[in-house]
Point group: C2
């Protein structure tokens, strides 16, 4: 059963989330001026006083917060950094994210932060379609922050949580069968592995296990249409994704059964902005705006974050969803690290792939962008390898090459130098689509 608080935000449009946001934002700014050395200094440097922040409109005046600043803050004042704004005795949990190099970064939560996370995770599950009578087998670890929070959220929702962990496939299968479980949480690669495991060891087709929903996460890949299609057809169930951020919250976006993007579920705790990653300007509102996702916590004790740059490039959909939820949806289209700027225009590798994909089945859809210089600023013409399907005549190939170049010029405003390569010649990557290749 969803808590009363959650129900209000979800099911009663007469409650204006903007009012809640405005109130909480002011309280959060008060809190920050009182408790966060990091933000006091940051605002002072930017010439911002408390009285300059009077409404939500003033948010855009505030400086961005970058992950590097968090790292530097923790290096300067280990372990939690000057941006942490709670006393250790009020912190009930600390998660570490290992990072690729050097020291881990730490995120702490107070009892209130814990409550907010749990509430949001319950909503994530509710949005997926999980209900009180759902039986949820959890085949991921619980020490990681998403796992811990998911456990708490599933239990708050009142579904039946069946934790198994990793490396115990027999117990996973056994639990699904014994409880006629309808939901499985796992990584996309485990979903694929488990399908083979079931066929080999139980002589059953995975679809016979009767799962209705698989929520995948913990590694890239679940969002790729081909990975998802494969899992869905093997298991005959819906595959859904959710998305969060190590510094802000385990999950803030969650797919509904319509599977047309992930709904934002955290409006009473987090404000989202969509900005141009180059200029930092807010992207003008439109049905399908694209840009970098920026978070501002309005309800955070241990790690307040103002205009935190996620580096996630998203496409936002504000049109009504058939599921009935009013909240906007998004899909992740890349990372700002991957973005290219060609003659002043932002171009995402995934957008190039989308254009090429529109020429299927003449092409396999597999591409490789060759970068002669360090992104994001690159100069046209852009060399681009495009895989063709077997059996195309020479004339068809010539036409395809010209058509792809024309489409790229028309849709993305740049000149490409398309080289057709034979089917299967571009190396495949298991999980993450690798769209670029560096020549510099």
């Amino acid at each position: 059963m969803l808590s009363e608080k959650a129900k209000k935000v979800f099911e009663e449009p007469q409650l204006h989330v903007e009012d809640i946001q405005a109130d909480k934002f002011q309280q959060q700014i008060d809190y920050i001026f009182q408790h966060s050395e990091f933000y006091r200094e940051k605002f002072q440097k930017a010439g911002i006083e408390r009285e300059n922040i009077q409404s939500l409109n003033d948010l855009k005046k505030l400086p961005f917060t970058y992950k590097d600043e968090i790292r530097a803050s923790q290096k300067k004042a280990p372990p939690l950094g000057t941006h942490a704004a709670a006393d250790m005795e009020d912190i009930v949990r600390i998660h570490s994210s290992s990072g690729t190099t050097g020291r881990p970064t730490y995120t702490g939560i107070t009892r209130q932060d814990y409550d907010v996370w749990t509430e949001m995770l319950a909503r994530v599950c509710y949005t997926h379609g999980i209900r009180q009578d759902s039986k949820v087998v959890f085949a991921m670890g619980l020490s990681f922050f998403v796992g811990s929070a998911m456990k708490d959220g599933i239990e708050r929702l009142g579904a039946t949580f069946i934790p198994i962990g990793t490396g115990a496939s027999d117990r996973v299968v056994r639990s699904i069968i014994d409880f006629q479980a309808d939901v499985l949480f796992c990584t996309p690669s485990y979903a694929t592995y488990l399908a083979e495991f079931v066929k080999k060891n139980y002589g059953m087709h995975p679809s016979e296990l009767g799962l209705k929903l698989m929520s995948v996460g913990g590694e890239p890949g679940g969002g790729l249409p081909e990975v998802r299609r494969k899992i869905e057809s093997e298991w005959n169930c819906k595959v859904m994704e959710a998305m969060g951020n190590a510094d802000m919250a385990p999950v803030l976006f969650s797919e509904c059964p319509e599977q047309k993007g992930m709904h934002f579920i955290g409006a009473d705790n987090v404000i989202c902005e969509i900005i141009d990653p180059e200029t930092g300007e807010i992207v003008p509102e439109s049905d399908h705006m694209e840009g970098e996702l920026v978070y501002t916590a309005i309800n955070r004790e241990c790690v307040p974050l103002i205009r935190f740059r996620t580096r996630d490039l998203v496409q936002v959909d504000t049109t009504p969803c058939a599921c009935g939820k009013k909240s906007f949806r998004l899909r992740c289209i890349g990372r700002t690290d991957d973005m290219l700027i060609i003659r002043g225009v932002n171009v995402f590798p995934s957008a190039i792939k989308d254009v090429v994909n529109s020429f299927r089945p003449k092409t396999t859809g597999e591409i490789r962008i060759l970068l002669k210089e360090k992104p994001p600023l690159v100069n046209p013409p852009l060399p681009l390898k495009v895989e063709i399907a077997n059996g195309l005549s020479e004339r068809e190939q010539e036409a395809l090459q010209k058509d792809v170049q024309a489409a790229l010029r028309f849709k993305l405003f740049f000149t490409a130098e398309v080289e057709l390569v034979s089917e299967g010649s571009l190396p495949r990557f298991e999980m993450k689509a690798k769209l670029t290749e560096r020549l510099y």
Copy 2:
């Protein structure tokens, strides 16, 4: 901060736990008659009607519940069995215990059971000496029921929970250092492994990490004095144990800093009886009574258990503890499966070991009891191998042999046939003391 409820039970002796027990017991019996098919049938067979159970004194009239009955009940009515007394939609978590053979047994908890477990686990930590300002690194998995419950309990207590999980020793060490953590939860064997890891990879002595307390569990061995002494001297910290039961609750007994047995922390939720495992009679109360521990839940929704036979043989200490807590303490001295009955007298292998140990350093304390017939009923004289220390003269050996035999006769009332064997000749077992060897 301990919740108000916990504080009352702990710190206000004017609150009579017996009154709470009596009230809750009646409510539990009502609940069982209403919701548990298993107990309705069981009581009917035993000729027990609702009105026969009017006070705590009537508890001893009720039949015991055996683990085998739980297994049979789950086999008869999978997955949770006829003894389960909650609807699936009210169950928020299910744990499976793998068992050595065949199908796993499942234990479910409702929201109220979850709350009771969490409260008890908070008390377990409080009894150890963990407080709101403690920083607790958790190097065990959280999918297992003890881990999940411990997480919830530590967080409810308000200490800082730092989950790391297994297989990430660098992150364990790093977290202890970065947060000046005072508490580590791990298995006894991991404590030993980690000491070597720290010396090898960090060039530090483990004691330099400054841990004050290590709570060990998850495998046998932490209770063995020699294992504990080794860990304590390596880490220069206290090693404490806790004990629970897969069917009743993750933890019900917890050591205090006095380290003289584990305090019972669950009196408002569980009634303990100490019985003679052979006759089933309640052991007459005394300061140091011994017998099998039997649990009755008085507050359980999903898995009510009446007079559940744990097979744990315990020695109970009802004398006041220097820590100030009034609750009785116990230590586990074996399993009923290990018990021997020699001419009508119960003899535990650990008791034989204790007698031999009193002759250290002439003996290493290592023994092996040779069983010519299937326990528990065995006939004297009992063949017993006792390891002697190096360097004993022939005359000293003769004397030792006679003295050990005399002490066993005097203290445990049976005749042994002691064979002295040389130091190091009995095989050692890493974690579990193996005291018997079967010859039949």
